[in-house]
Subunit: 215 residues, 2 copies
Amino acid sequence: MARLPVYLRCLVDMAERDLQTVSSDRLAGLAGVGPAKVRKDLSYLGSYGTRGVGYDVEYLVYQIRRELGLEQDWPVVIVGAGHLGHALGHYAGFQARGFRTVAVVDVDPRKVGTRIGEAVVEHLDDLDLIVKEHHAAIGIIATPAHAAQEVADRLVAAGISAILNFAPTVVQVPGTVSLRKVDLSTELQILSFHEQRKAAQLALGRRAAHPGGGR
Amino acid sequence: MARLPVYLRCLVDMAERDLQTVSSDRLAGLAGVGPAKVRKDLSYLGSYGTRGVGYDVEYLVYQIRRELGLEQDWPVVIVGAGHLGHALGHYAGFQARGFRTVAVVDVDPRKVGTRIGEAVVEHLDDLDLIVKEHHAAIGIIATPAHAAQEVADRLVAAGISAILNFAPTVVQVPGTVSLRKVDLSTELQILSFHEQRKAAQLALGRRAAHPGGGR
DNA sequence: GCATGTGAATAGATTCACAGCG
DNA sequence: CGCTGTGAATCTATTCACATGC
């Protein structure tokens, strides 16, 4: 379920504010979803709530972290040292949540050796070695679209088994490899789609209010 | 439908390679989905295919662009001139797809006046003016989590009607405003969830193969 | 013959409503 | 009495299968 990470963040916030328990209603409010959905989602993890009271915040944090595999930390390799690679390399929320950037790689020899946050940029050709050395399981593609498929193939060949793709193109990977994508333009296009529909609705409304106004 | 932008990208690629027509099978292959899904999706736009032949690439591009509201261009305001704001401001795929970054704003006075791509960073307090002047309808939140809700409120107050949120927190907006989020940590956590399940499966498999090896 | 377009079948996610328990 | 946990009902998305038309 894609909502567990959201719950987790809300719960961690609450734990930091020393709250002991939380009801599905409250958590639903914070997470921006319905209370029934929260209860269904949490019931997948087991029956960790107390009727009449709610859920124990600490315990729920533990259970969700376990479910998401966040008890261990995950070494991450970023491919692409452009603007996006920089942003990702500097992103503090990463380290905080158990994802450690062990390397940033790029094909451009001028970028190799420069620093990005904690890491020094290495060459893409050393990917196999880097992945093996750090036991990296997750790779992030932050390259232009035209390079994405080749990078994906190399990541897979190097032994990576999960990929997060930021390049605006579809990449194919073997069924054994998990793949998710984050696509900027797609998100904006979905927003423009909704905007355009709102505008159309509005025009329709106006026409109904002043029939014959057009023509 | 969240797949139209993907189809659009595939179709534009094909158009650039001077291909006239495409079958649902082919497009499905490129977009990484099933052929039936492609046909259902496209049938929403109307019956623009030719039986026995396929779809006319140019025409379909036009129809999808129209459906998504990409005939007009959309002025975009980016809030936050940190690493992510930089990456977004420099992202070329933006301009190419009809989204024009008209301003980057930040609260930090030291950042005001610096350049990001085409734009010069302005102060968040001038948001109202900027939005009105450029008729911006879309705002992007690229700030730390703690600032996200206030920024969202300001964007709404300034007259923005669609928001793309990159901050790792839930923001609330009025029902009239479209909202989408892109959340790095969430994506990584979903990947780690899958990895962890793969590992569990594997352990189970090993136990079945060597029963009694554990105890 | 070949590929679309679409009703029907299926699967999946969400919501409802309430029994059950602290 | 309040809130969880969950079957049943509903809604939405996906897949199937084939009639339809070029």
